[in-house]
């Protein structure tokens, strides 16, 4: 094992560059999938006649496909129908589609967990359905949803590594390039890559814990 050679300054800079791509792709996908997931989850919860049915089919389809397949699809299949996405955008698109579906389910079940009595109390005081959702259901549901939402964010961040298959220059990908030079780099590079993933995800889960305690 050649730690000194593996951790040469050039290598570290290269890894950090990859790490930056990972964070960027993850961050953008998290924001987008949270927004889409929230909208889809709420629409499904609201049981709007046709819309909710259609969304259910779409969400179930996506949720039951492997993410890898979706990544391949956005990069290799979309160009066939005239949509060419750069690697980064293809990765973001694939992750967003997949994680939106996952998050919409988290959000829908969070909303559903609020007791019917809460809704009845609000509606019987004259609040509209939307007002009830806004002031009674959502605030309470959000509190319950923080832990599963954050764990979904964490798995999204980890899932960015799957985009190596379309050569997204992320942390995983750049790590591979380095250890491909020499077998003695493999373990040191795996180690540091693992530590980088761990640190950012651990921070996320700690933030979630704080939020949970504060809002409890």
């Amino acid at each position: 094992m050649d730690f000194i050679g593996a951790y040469a300054p050039d290598h570290l800079t290269f890894l950090l560059k990859g790490f930056w791509v990972t964070l960027k792709v993850a961050f953008i996908s998290i924001i987008l999938s949270f927004i889409i997931g929230a909208i889809v989850g709420t629409l499904r919860y609201a049981a709007i006649p046709i819309v909710s049915r259609v969304l259910a089919v779409v969400v179930e389809t996506i949720r039951n496909l492997p993410l890898l397949l979706i990544i391949f699809f956005t990069y290799f299949a979309l160009p066939e129908i005239g949509i060419n996405l750069e690697i980064t955008y293809a990765a973001i698109a694939a992750l967003t589609v997949f994680e939106s579906a996952m998050l919409s389910e988290v959000i829908r079940s969070g909303l559903k967990s609020i007791e019917k009595g809460q809704i009845e109390a609000a509606r019987s005081s004259g609040l509209t359905y939307v007002q009830t959702l806004q002031h009674i259901v959502m605030p309470q549901a959000l509190k319950r949803m923080v832990p599963p939402i954050v764990s979904q964010f964490i798995s999204l961040l980890k899932d960015t590594s799957l985009a190596v298959v379309i050569a997204l220059p992320d942390l995983m990908h750049n790590g591979q390039i380095i250890y491909a030079q020499k077998d003695s780099y493999i373990i040191p590079i795996f180690l540091i890559v693992a530590i980088m993933y761990f640190i950012v995800n651990y921070c996320l889960s700690q933030i979630a814990r704080r939020l949970e305690v504060k809002r409890a």
Partner: protein, 242 residues
């Protein structure tokens, strides 16, 4: 004011309400009693459209409750409801629980809503709990907040759905006292309860319902002294003789 005319309600094949005819006048206190599963809560919940009726006519001040053209939110402003399990909003303080609907539905200002809320909190005897959260209150206190929450909308009628059934025995009195005071002030009240003492003292009329049917309608004095229906006699003997 509230008028049931030939109201039927089914859950699938099961008929929960059978040909309900009942009219409740302004200022009246009507107590609905009956065995569990008799449909008394369902009947109450039809009044503010938490349950839909299948057939017949149900009107409030002449407005059809179940009509598509009726603005149900507008109708509900006028009908306060108190539930067995309180259903206070756990993420809001007592004051916020009470001010929410007046602010959002009636468009009252924050200050105005707070003032009204404090007035009613004082009335139900827990002014000092304004800034507490529901989880910090006893069951009896929570139910009194729920009553204040209903009153803050200044409704014409208050519905009570077994308001004391989820309470510890020692807390029942404080809630019933608030309700008695309300009745004396002339509030129109429809109360589903098992509290016979309350019914006897406060009710203008007792409605006995069993298997979805109104079997007897009488003043408390008549009803307790001389129930006409066999089923009512049996019911009374079961709940009064312990």
């Amino acid at each position: 004011m509230i008028e049931f005319k030939g109201v039927n309600k089914y859950y699938g094949d099961f008929q929960v309400l059978k040909d309900i005819n009942l009219s409740i006048n302004k200022g009246e206190v009507v107590v609905i009693i009956g065995p569990s599963g008799s449909g008394k809560s369902t009947m109450l919940r039809c009044i503010n459209h938490l349950e839909t009726i299948t057939e017949g006519e149900l009107t409030i001040n002449g407005t059809l409750v179940a009509d598509k053209k009726t603005d149900i939110n507008k109708l509900r402003r006028n009908i306060g409801m108190v539930f067995q399990h309180f259903h206070l909003y756990p993420h809001k303080t007592v004051l916020e629980n009470i001010t929410l609907a007046p602010k959002k539905v009636l468009g009252k200002s924050e200050n105005e809503a707070k003032e009204t809320a404090r007035y009613y909190l004082d009335k139900v005897g827990i002014a000092e709990k304004a800034d507490a959260y529901p989880s910090q209150l006893s069951g009896g206190q929570q139910q009194r907040v729920a009553i204040a929450r209903g009153l803050a909308m200044n409704p014409e009628v208050m519905l009570f759905d077994e308001p004391t059934s989820a309470l510890d025995p020692e807390m029942i009195g404080e809630v019933l006292d608030v309700m008695k005071a309300l009745a004396k002030e002339g509030m129109t009240m429809v109360v589903v309860t098992h509290e016979m003492g309350f019914a006897k003292e406060v009710a203008d009329r007792i409605v006995f319902i069993d298997q979805g049917q109104i079997l007897e309608e009488a003043t408390p004095a008549e009803f307790y002294a001389n129930p006409r229906e066999e089923r009512a006699k049996l019911f009374l003997s079961r709940i009064l003789n312990h």
